[in-house]
């Protein structure tokens, strides 16, 4: 009897879409290489062919056994746990936690590391359930200055500065402070 769930069908569909999209896109670079018979598309197409076969094998397993782990497999560190959401609130919270780092990464180019980081730290700490304001502010400042000290002052690592005002000006101010500090210490 089939043990297929909708999530299994969606999972298989995603893999098949990946195979089709990547195979279709491979015609964009389907050029011959004079010194190599299989060209630039040979290797990726073999990988895609194998991926198609194992996706079908996986579908067979899902059909027969559902999400059940195969007996004798080793190194499965993520045992299937009963993850159940108690309401729309926790789902929204999870989506926010997943989206926040991506928004932070997108903001690095216009806003820069120096301005975006404190906001990011506050939001993540709050999303992860910390409600004590003093702790939120204290830990944010601690992490921010620790990172600035380690990567800007000690290691002089280049970090994104942003390209719109006033964030760019703030980054320039931080870098000027760092230069002055280095000069005064003969670093």
């Amino acid at each position: 009897m089939s043990k297929l769930k909708t999530s299994h069908k969606v999972e298989t569909l995603i893999w098949l879409t990946i195979v089709v999209v990547f195979f279709g896109y491979s015609f964009e670079f389907s050029q011959e290489i004079e010194i190599y018979k299989f060209g630039a598309t040979g290797w990726p197409r073999v990988v895609l062919g194998l991926l198609l076969l194992v996706t079908l094998g996986n579908f067979l397993h899902l059909y027969k056994k559902g999400s059940e782990a195969q007996q004798g497999r080793v190194g499965i560190t993520d045992q299937e746990e009963d993850i159940s959401y108690d309401g729309i609130g926790s789902i929204k919270k999870l989506i926010a936690i997943l989206a926040m780092p991506l928004i932070f990464a997108w903001s690095l180019k216009p806003v820069g590391f120096y301005s975006a980081t404190p906001v990011f730290i506050v939001l993540i700490i709050v999303l992860l359930g910390e409600k004590r304001i003093k702790w939120v502010i204290g830990i944010t400042l601690f992490i921010y200055f620790l990172l600035i000290f380690l990567f800007m002052v000690i290691l002089n690592a280049p970090l994104p500065q942003g390209n719109i005002s006033p964030f760019y000006d703030f980054s320039a101010f931080m870098l000027t402070l760092n230069t002055k500090l280095h000069q005064s210490l003969n670093f």
Binding site: P44, V47, V54, V74, L98, L102, L108, L159
Partner: protein, 495 residues
């Protein structure tokens, strides 16, 4: 050899500045390896420009020391947080993290310290004694066909561990191989799968992918548990294993040492494959296979002995042939080039003092793991006491900086978080994150060596298989795959 070693030691410890660099490398490597979210590669990438102001021997020595201690440091985060510091520590997490969840973190970390030191010291000794003969053997016996065959066997082994089913193990590895095809193809330099992004022409960088799949996805997994009230803080323990307990694993240590050293000396392979194969062999020879992945100390021992045994061995193709065995040794090539030196056979004749300072430093760095590692470990175990809501932003930011620094591209930070979300979803469905990462790392190496091998044998498969090492590895790979398929199909059709 002994005279050269003493001369190298004297040069290392006779100069206070060199001692300072050595200590910096030992502590820096351990810390950057052991802090979740960043790795020894982050430290190496930051330090690369500064090595221009050092003597060549000091620069190479610094990186070699960071390589040894950073490889060990990465085991700590793998065991305590399920975040391998480097890909070579991924199999360590298979059993190390379940041990932490059972309250046996001290035992796992203690075993990692000791086995990293044993693997590293033995590898350093063999490297000192046999670099030249081994390099000569490698030159005459190992070519692109053998390297491809080893990659094939390694991927077959990787697919057999980690995923919830054999199919998912293979899907993970193949996804990694597919990601590795993004960027220029290794033969003709033709752009593949850049989807209109110019920055993708250089491909997906290892560091953001590794950070995303390992560190960020683990943060998301824990954050999900926190969001639904299922989060359980890892348990701290300081119960280190006894010597008697470790003695029972002597065979596993010796076997992993040999596996690690063999993988290490092969150009382009390095410690990652060594760790997977060390772990895979431990499972293969064990009478208690079912206990692997659930907190078997032998899993930690095998993986850590093998990856550290590969560090010394990986220096052989680098120094003797000029071929890097992994990301860290590739950065070392950068150090050489900054001083107008080319690693290769001529280094032994032109700069023997450099070679022996590096050898001596690696030997002492591995010894330091044993002494400093045990002290440092007790401190690092207290990281488990930091509340998750404070540790998580720190790890995410360190990973962002680590990803950005390599190429100075914001795109790499976006890729890292994208990989994190992807890793989170794939883990929920039982896919193998280490399998994906190994696929990414070995994809380009595999394709390049397959192409070169095929050109060498004029596309004649029989000639390809007439090379004994190649044939042996290909047979071993196919046997692993066929056994896996048989087990998977017979399980699916069993009622």
């Amino acid at each position: 050899m002994i005279d050269n070693f003493i001369a190298g030691s004297n040069a290392l410890f006779g100069d206070p500045f060199s001692i300072g660099i050595f200590i910096f490398g030992v502590i820096g490597g351990m810390l950057f390896g052991a802090i979740p979210g960043i790795s020894m590669l982050t430290l190496a990438a930051i330090l690369l420009p500064f090595t221009a102001s050092l003597e060549p021997a000091q620069g190479v020595m610094l990186f070699a020391v960071i390589y040894c201690t950073g490889t060990y440091g990465g085991a700590i985060t793998a065991i305590l947080f399920n975040i391998p510091g480097a890909p070579e520590n991924a199999p360590t997490a298979f059993d190390g993290y379940p041990m932490t969840r059972k309250g046996q973190s001290g035992k796992a970390v203690g075993a990692a310290v000791l086995c990293s030191a044993i693997g590293g010291v033995s590898s350093a000794l063999i490297m000192m004694a046999a670099t030249e003969p081994l390099a000569n053997w490698a030159i005459s016996n190992i070519g692109p066909p053998e390297i491809f065959a080893l990659v094939f066997f390694g991927l077959a082994v990787a697919s057999s561990v980690g995923g919830r089913t054999m199919w998912k193990g293979w899907m993970s590895v193949l996804l990694g191989l597919l990601i590795a095809t993004i960027g220029q193809d290794p033969v003709g330099g033709i752009n593949r799968y850049n989807f209109g992004f110019a920055d993708l022409a250089a491909g997906i960088a290892f560091v953001p992918a590794i950070m995303g799949f390992f560190a960020v996805s683990e943060i998301f997994v824990q954050a999900e548990k926190k969001a639904i009230g299922m989060y359980e803080a890892p348990k701290m323990s300081l119960d280190f294993p006894t010597i008697l307990e470790l003695w029972t694993y002597k065979i596993a240590v010796i076997r992993s040492m040999l596996v690690g050293f063999f993988c290490g000396i092969l150009p382009g392979i390095g410690a990652t494959l060594a760790a997977f194969m060390g772990y895979g062999e431990a499972v293969r020879w064990s009478k208690n296979k079912e206990s692997f992945g659930k907190g078997n100390l032998e899993g930690v021992i095998s993986s850590e002995t093998a990856n550290n045994a590969a560090t010394g061995a990986a220096m052989i193709p680098l120094l003797a042939l000029g071929l890097p065995g992994g990301a860290m040794t590739a950065l070392m090539v950068g150090v050489f080039q900054m001083h107008d030196l080319e690693p290769g056979p001529m280094v032994f004749y032109n700069s023997p003092e450099l070679i022996w300072i590096v050898f001596a430093a690696m030997f002492y760095a591995n010894l330091s793991i044993l002494f400093i590692g045990l002290i440092e470990t007790k401190t690092i175990l207290y990281l488990l006491k930091i509340p998750f809501q404070f540790l998580a932003p720190m790890i995410l930011l360190l990973a962002s900086i680590g990803s950005y620094i390599g190429r100075g591209l914001v795109l790499d930070v976006i890729i890292m978080f994208g990989a994190g979300i992807m890793g989170f979803l794939l883990r929920r469905s039982g896919y193998s994150i280490p399998g994906i990462v190994l696929g990414i790392i070995l994809g380009k190496i595999g394709e390049q060596n397959f192409a070169q091998g095929m050109q060498m044998v004029h596309y004649d498969v029989l000639e390809y298989l007439s090379r004994p090492i190649c044939l042996l590895l290909i047979i071993a790979g196919f046997l692993t795959i066929l056994t896996g398929i048989y087990k998977a199909l017979s399980y699916s059709f069993r009622s």
